[in-house]
Each structure stands twice: as structure tokens, then as C-alpha cells.
Symmetry: C2
Subunit: 197 residues, 2 copies
């Protein structure tokens, strides 16, 4: 039996690919301590996309881990988390963007997940305005008394999270570009398409 290849997404870059209904996407932090933002779209109609607001409502939780279903803006199941080595991910924050680095850190022309997703998803005709809610794998956001704090990821080298698709999907995936979010420096992520859990 052939083993599906592990594809590396270099630090501060992004990619996009398709995943058929029922297939597995494995996202890995090869060196640990690195966030991977995921954007999900229906292949049949990419105007249907992941909605954190619907997903949180149906999960009754902001902490999504094994068993959680990711819902679309049309309330359809898009994918389910079927395994999770870390158990700490974010679905509240929008992906980092060039404008975010200007506003929050005074940095111009910083690479960002939003621009990397926009570039990678262009071949599928997805409008940058539709890159809104993302599932930010391994992102460690603490919410205490309403205040949020972005902490270093809890992922170890090789930590993985597995998604089983519930519809034919277009997926954007980044190795997050924010040093601040990734414990001080940016590393690659990696993924495997189509492997059984």
C-alpha cells in the first residue's frame, strides 16, 4: 500500500488544494509551536464557507477538538475533527493580515496569512473578501473574563490534527506568518491528503 506524501508548507507561506467528501486531511506541526490557518469552502459553490459563528453555536464551545464538526455559513457540516494531538486551537480570530501588522505592530509589508490565503485561493476564484472565518490549528488563545491573550502554541514536533471532510472541499492552508503568535519565530507546517485515520 502506498503512503500518501507529506507536503511541506514553508514558513510564512500558504497553499490551497481540494479534498473530496470522506477523505482525511492531516495537518502537522513538524517542528512544533507553529500555527496553521485553515479556510474551508464548498467546491460546489465556494460562496459556502466555514463559519465560526455557526460552529461555536452548534458546538456550544469555542474550544474545538476531536468530534467537533465545522459548519458552513449555510449550517451544513463541512468537516469533522477526527483526531487531535493538541486540543488547543482557535476559531475566534481572523487570519493575520498585512493591515493587522500595520495596526497592531506598526510593521509595513509583513507577510500574512490573509494575503497568502488570497494568493493560494485565487485559482479557485475565491474573493479575498470571503476569507473571513478560519480554523487556526494549534493557535493558543486564552479567554479569561472576556479578555483574549495569544499564547505560544502547545504543539510539539510532529503534533497533528486530522479532519474528515463532509463535503467536497476547497481548503486554504498557511504556515502562519506572525512571529508573535508562534512563540517568537515562524516555522513550516506540513499536510497529508487522503490518508486513512
Amino acid at each position: 500500500m502506498s503512503v500518501p506524501p507529506l507536503v511541506v508548507v514553508p514558513a510564512q507561506t500558504g497553499t490551497a488544494f481540494e479534498l473530496s467528501s470522506g477523505e482525511i486531511l492531516t495537518v502537522v506541526a513538524p517542528e512544533g509551536s507553529q500555527v496553521a490557518d485553515l479556510a474551508f469552502y464548498s467546491k460546489a459553490d465556494p460562496r459556502e464557507s466555514f463559519s465560526s459563528g455557526r460552529t461555536i453555536d452548534y458546538a456550544e464551545s469555542i474550544l474545538l477538538t476531536t468530534g467537533a464538526v465545522l459548519y458552513s455559513n449555510r449550517s451544513n457540516p463541512m468537516a469533522q475533527i477526527v483526531a487531535d494531538d493538541v486540543g488547543r486551537h482557535d476559531c475566534l480570530l481572523a487570519p493575520c493580515s498585512a493591515r493587522m501588522f500595520q495596526l497592531l505592530r506598526g510593521q509595513n509589508d509583513h507577510p500574512s496569512c490573509h494575503e497568502n490565503l488570497a494568493m493560494a485561493l485565487r485559482k479557485y476564484g475565491i474573493d479575498p473578501d470571503d476569507i473571513g472565518s478560519t480554523f487556526n490549528a494549534f493557535m493558543n488563545v486564552d479567554v479569561t473574563d472576556g479578555r483574549i491573550a495569544i499564547l505560544p502554541p502547545l504543539s510539539k514536533p510532529g503534533s497533528a490534527i486530522l479532519f474528515e471532510s463532509r463535503m467536497d472541499l476547497i481548503i486554504g492552508l498557511t504556515a502562519c506568518s506572525s512571529e508573535y503568535t508562534n512563540g517568537g519565530s515562524c516555522r513550516p507546517v506540513a499536510y497529508v491528503l487522503g490518508s486513512a485515520p
Copy 2:
């Protein structure tokens, strides 16, 4: 000096209107204990809309009250909360929808904020798929250890929240249709356009 009129939004309905940059929108819970979902769009290009993910990131908080700026998916300021009698609102959850009532409560054909917003915003050419993030005034969502719990609103009869627009806006506004969210029964909301704070 003429006083701008108070407009009532009947229980389980919605409306939409324009607000010019610098003008004030006052949203009132006339009988208390009632949620009002607000959807914000740029009049210049309604594909620019309120983003909870950007707003939470820039506010470093999920609890938005006086002083907080509501940001768009393009990271532009859309409106600022300039007064707030209650201090407890939600920006995590998507507006209730017919599908939500089916999924969570087994109720068919229940009126909903999403359908009411879609109907009210149709005249501005806004696609129902673009009704995603909303600011849910007076909605009382507790987040403890990641779990969310929807509690009765803390608003008293006449409680108000005031928004000053930072761009020319199209705004959708509902008297939320969910009995569960509104302490057991649905009531009207009301609003005033253009009054000084």
C-alpha cells in the same frame, strides 16, 4: 430643535436602513431583556462588512462596550460604541436561522434573525451568504473554560447602546426571534437614527 423619531421593530422581525459617517444610531430594548442583532455593511461596497474576527483581535476582548471600534473584513473602522447602558453583548455567534432552530431545537419554520436580515437587506443587494458576523446587542453569552452558555439579557426596560458610524453604512437590525436567547419570550426593539449622543 426636532427630536428624531423612535422607530419600533416588532418582535421577531427585522429592518434595514442607512447611517451616514459621523451619525449616531441608538438601539433600545423598550421592555428590556431582548436581543437586537446588528449587521453592518459599507454603503460604498457592501462586500465590506463587519468582522467579529478582526474586531476581537484589535479589541483584545470578546466583550465590546463603550469605546470599542467595530472593524470590517478589510480592517477598516465601521462604527464605535459611544455609550452603553448594559455592557454585555455578543459578537461570537452567528444570527439565529431557520436551520439553527431545526438543528438545535427540532423546530421547523421558526422565524429567525438570518431570514429577517436577508429579507430586510435584499433592497441593498446584499447576498444572504454575506450575513455572517453580527453584533448581537444585549445578548448575554458566558464563556467559561471554553464552554458557552446563553443567558437571559441583562438589559432593563429602556436600556440603550449607541453607535457612531465611521463610514457610510447600511445596517440590518432585528428584534431577535429566539425565545431561548431572550429569557423565554420575544419582545420588540427600537432605534433612533441621527441623534447626537
